[in-house]
């Protein structure tokens, strides 16, 4: 991130030598952050494009895969992340106004919510691990019952079973072979699920790192009306990560939910 503003010069202690004024510096930094977010849009965009193409190609499998992840957790996490975006926006506001205490608390709240999000994500990942829904057959238990995961227990999220199980809003008339095949194709869904949420979570982790650093500086009282660019930039980044999730949630969790219920 653009941290150049910490260099010391004659004017404001935070004014870097290559800038003429704090204004120019703030302008340039914010713009730089936006340009960086542009690259992020394209990076996630590549994944979204690929995702859309496979969703068209393997729609039933994507439905089955989507049904097997917990919409409840996904929903809760969306709210958590939106909340954290709110506290982040408030933190920027507080920094700009120079409210030192509330800055710190708001940043802390953002971090707590961010951590909560990652916690839920970890729980969801763990469930998938437990249910043998890790795509590929290199890490751990492999995928469903085909990657070497010897789970035959129905309660363990065997997608082929779920597709036919009325308890999971499945259709028992679907023959076993067919269900198995669809289940196998959900591996692609899970590849995308993990790639997309994984990349997203990776951004969250980086975001938490940034927030920690901001928190320390905010406690030191560095930010006020004349200089709050770092908080502003951190905010932009955090909100962006939030936006990605706003799209990930319906795309991954809500494919044809009405067919299968909660």
């Amino acid at each position: 991130m653009s941290t150049s503003q910490t260099t010391t010069t004659e004017h404001h202690p935070a004014l870097a030598h290559q800038f003429d004024s704090m204004e120019q510096q703030q302008d340039a930094s914010t713009f730089g952050m936006w340009v960086f977010l542009l690259t992020e849009i394209m990076m996630f965009g590549g994944l979204f494009t690929a995702y859309l193409i496979y969703r068209l190609k393997y729609y039933p499998a994507f439905v089955a895969g989507s049904t097997s992840i917990s919409v409840g957790w996904g929903f809760a996490n969306t709210l958590v992340l939106i909340g954290s975006s709110f506290t982040m926006a408030m933190a920027v506001w507080a920094a700009q106004k120079g409210y030192r205490k509330s800055q710190v608390w708001l940043l802390l709240a953002t971090m707590v919510l961010g951590a909560a999000f990652l916690g839920v994500k970890a729980k969801e990942y763990y469930d998938k691990w437990d249910e043998c829904h890790i795509p590929g057959h290199v890490i751990g238990k492999g995928f469903n019952t085909w990657g070497g995961c010897s789970v035959t227990n129905k309660s363990l999220g065997n997608i082929a079973e779920e597709i036919r199980d009325p308890k999971h809003h499945g259709n028992p008339n679907i023959p076993e072979g067919a269900a198995e095949q669809t289940a196998r194709q959900t591996e692609i869904f899970f590849s995308f699920y993990f790639a997309m949420t994984g990349l997203h979570a990776f951004h969250m982790v980086i975001g938490l790192g940034l927030l920690t650093w901001l928190l320390l500086r905010a406690r030191g009282g560095e930010f006020g009306p004349s200089y709050y660019t770092p908080v502003e930039l951190g905010g932009l980044y955090w909100h962006f990560v939030d936006i990605v999730w706003i799209f990930l949630f319906p795309l991954l969790y809500l494919i044809s939910r009405h067919q299968h219920g909660v």
Binding site: G45, T78, I246
Partner: protein, 97 residues
């Protein structure tokens, strides 16, 4: 940027409310069978939520033209990538025979 005032906490709360409502709406509607419109509705709500975040949480509403242009360019390019890739996949079945 800085020449304009940023939004107030009151506005932020409003936005938060809108976002929460949007999320609940997405969640609720997902269980209603709308045929092919399900994903469309879900994504429309998502776009609205994203726009709210961008405009207010990210202060774009209060920023200069350049920032607005930058963001539009980003989504425009994303659309190029998605539509032109899909143009191949969606027209393949009309292969000449």
């Amino acid at each position: 940027m800085s020449e304009n005032s940023h939004p107030t906490p009151g506005l932020y709360v409003l936005i938060l409310l809108a976002l929460v409502i949007g999320t609940c709406l997405t969640w609720g509607i997902a269980f209603v069978d709308l045929g092919i419109w399900n994903p469309v509705v879900a994504l429309t709500i998502a776009v609205i939520k994203a726009v709210l975040v961008i405009l207010f949480f990210m202060h774009v509403h209060y920023s200069n033209k350049l920032t607005k242009l930058t963001i539009s360019a980003g989504f425009f390019w994303l659309m190029i990538m998605i539509t032109m890739s899909l143009s191949d996949y969606l027209t393949r079945s009309f292969m000449l025979r």
